[in-house]
């Protein structure tokens, strides 16, 4: 197990597995969020379900996610250090040929997403950074939370980066785990593209609808 973790391939596989866990989570999270558009009572009920009725399950999910993200970040950090050490003297000129912007944005985008996650938890889960947090009024928390332009822009920026992260990550996860099918065009990614559009778009509907005044 130790030698597995010490290997660059082992770390990538760990990133792939933890990445897939988070992809699964964001899919469910996004789908759950869409209940926002059914109306305040439905959304508050959903919040109550997660926070009280199913609290044990919620904690299990939280712990799994926490562990997954910790592993993901540790591996990413270590692999980044490894990559830096692998080329201490850079090129005067090296042009990207086929690598996507998404792939090149993984590292700093990941850092942004980490900051975002911390903020997001303090914002909507604990309410610490929320101007008028009321645990029972999840719907209201969202409306008030997103009525700040800066907060919404920060969220939307995070969703843009999440999109990039998912576009490269969902595809790369499968390949890091050796699960991809041989392809004549291995750089092509369909599932990842769908995930990268649907998930951030679904999340973004909330701040957008508040900002545009569609939901009050």
């Amino acid at each position: 197990m130790l030698s597995f973790w010490q290997s660059s391939v082992g770390k990538k596989a760990a990133m792939g597995l933890t990445g897939l866990i988070v992809v699964g989570f964001v899919l469910v999270h996004m789908a759950g969020n869409l209940q926002f558009f059914v109306g305040p009572s439905k959304f508050n009920e959903y919040s109550h379900l997660l926070r009280h009725t199913l609290i044990e399950l919620t904690w299990i999910v939280r712990l799994v996610l926490l562990a997954a993200i910790a592993v993901h970040i540790t591996a990413a950090w270590q692999l980044t250090q490894r990559a830096k050490a692998a080329r201490p003297v850079g090129y005067e000129r090296r042009d990207a040929q086929v690598s996507t912007y998404a792939s090149r944005a993984m590292r700093w985008g990941g850092v942004y997403l980490l900051v975002f996650i911390v903020y997001h938890i303090l914002h909507f889960t604990t309410g610490t950074l929320h101007p008028a947090y009321d645990e029972a009024q999840a719907y209201g928390n969202v409306v008030i939370g997103f009525s700040s332009l800066w907060v919404s822009l920060f969220y939307l920026g995070a969703m843009a980066l999440l999109s990039l992260h998912l576009y490269h990550g969902t595809w790369a996860c499968l390949r890091s785990l050796g699960l991809a099918k041989p392809s004549s065009n291995p750089l092509e990614r369909r599932i990842a593209l769908i995930v990268a559009i649907v998930v951030p778009a679904g999340f973004s509907l909330l701040p957008l609808s508040v900002l545009l005044g569609i939901v009050r």
């Binding site: 391939v9 990559a83 050490a85 005067e92 390949r175």
Partner: protein, 257 residues
């Protein structure tokens, strides 16, 4: 054609290097890139300057000895082409061409554009072979191999070990090189007995040589003069995971009398 070259010059492994500028005049578009460097070198020697050192041998794109970063691309702008097979018609008159050695910790510069790629040999030593001592073979047709498997093996086996994959990778990863060999041998029935051991040992050696990890940028595949697919990396990861999950210790009493 008249060109300006910006070339990395470094006197020796421990020396500091720098980019230097040279004029390449009267270049024919039909010259290969290396022939262009030959012409520049003849001029440098005539002027009492030291010629630019670069590795090359077969000059027909198969030995894998040549390799340099040309205008920010490994082996230059033409796809599926080594530097020796790149022709000057790919450039335009008056252009400035930047020429740098492969850059990686695992590929230290020996002089100018010449780097030490012995790390690749050591990765092969770790397990990039089938142990079949001379004389031990059965008839070549004793084990039929489905054509598609043989073709897959050949696709991966086309690797020329030039190092362009490492050079082009933002992480300086040798994953494509290592994976190509793991895929080649793993596609064949003869390669099965050592398949797991091979994956573990070659990956371990790859890490030991200070190559970076794979982020699936895809640059290696684009730079590869033989068009080896990153599907091989998928195979390497699968073999590595399978091998890690099913790893068995060598039994202590397994030795002979």
């Amino acid at each position: 054609m008249n060109l300006t070259l910006r070339v990395w010059r470094q006197a020796g492994p421990a020396a500091a290097g720098a980019m230097r500028e040279y004029r390449a005049e009267g270049i024919s578009p039909d010259m290969s890139f290396l022939e262009m460097l030959d012409v520049v070198n003849e001029g440098l020697i005539a002027k009492g300057d030291e010629p630019i050192a670069f590795d090359h041998d077969c000059r027909e794109g198969i030995c894998g000895m040549c390799g340099m970063m040309i205008n920010g691309a490994a082996h230059g702008p033409q796809r599926l082409t080594t530097a020796c097979q790149l022709h000057m018609r790919s450039f335009s008159d008056g252009e400035t061409i930047t020429i740098e050695p492969w850059r990686a910790t695992a590929f230290p510069v020996l002089k100018d554009l010449v780097v030490d790629r012995s790390a690749f040999d050591r990765i092969i030593q770790a397990g990039g072979f089938i142990s079949a001592p001379t004389g031990s073979a059965v008839d070549g047709n004793a084990i039929p191999i489905p054509k598609l498997d043989a073709d897959d093996a050949m696709d991966a086996a086309a690797c020329i070990g030039c190092g362009a994959c490492v050079a082009a990778c933002p992480n300086a990863s040798a994953s494509l090189f290592t994976a190509a060999k793991i895929s080649h041998l793993g596609s064949l029935p003869q390669g099965q007995p050592e398949r797991s051991r091979r994956a573990l040992a070659m990956v371990a050696q790859m890490d030991l040589e200070s190559f970076g990890g794979c982020s699936l940028f895809g640059e290696c595949m684009e730079a590869c003069p033989k068009g080896i697919s990153i599907d091989t990396i998928n195979t390497m990861h699968r073999d590595f995971l399978f091998a890690s999950a099913t790893k068995r210790d060598v039994k202590e009493w397994s030795g002979g009398a």
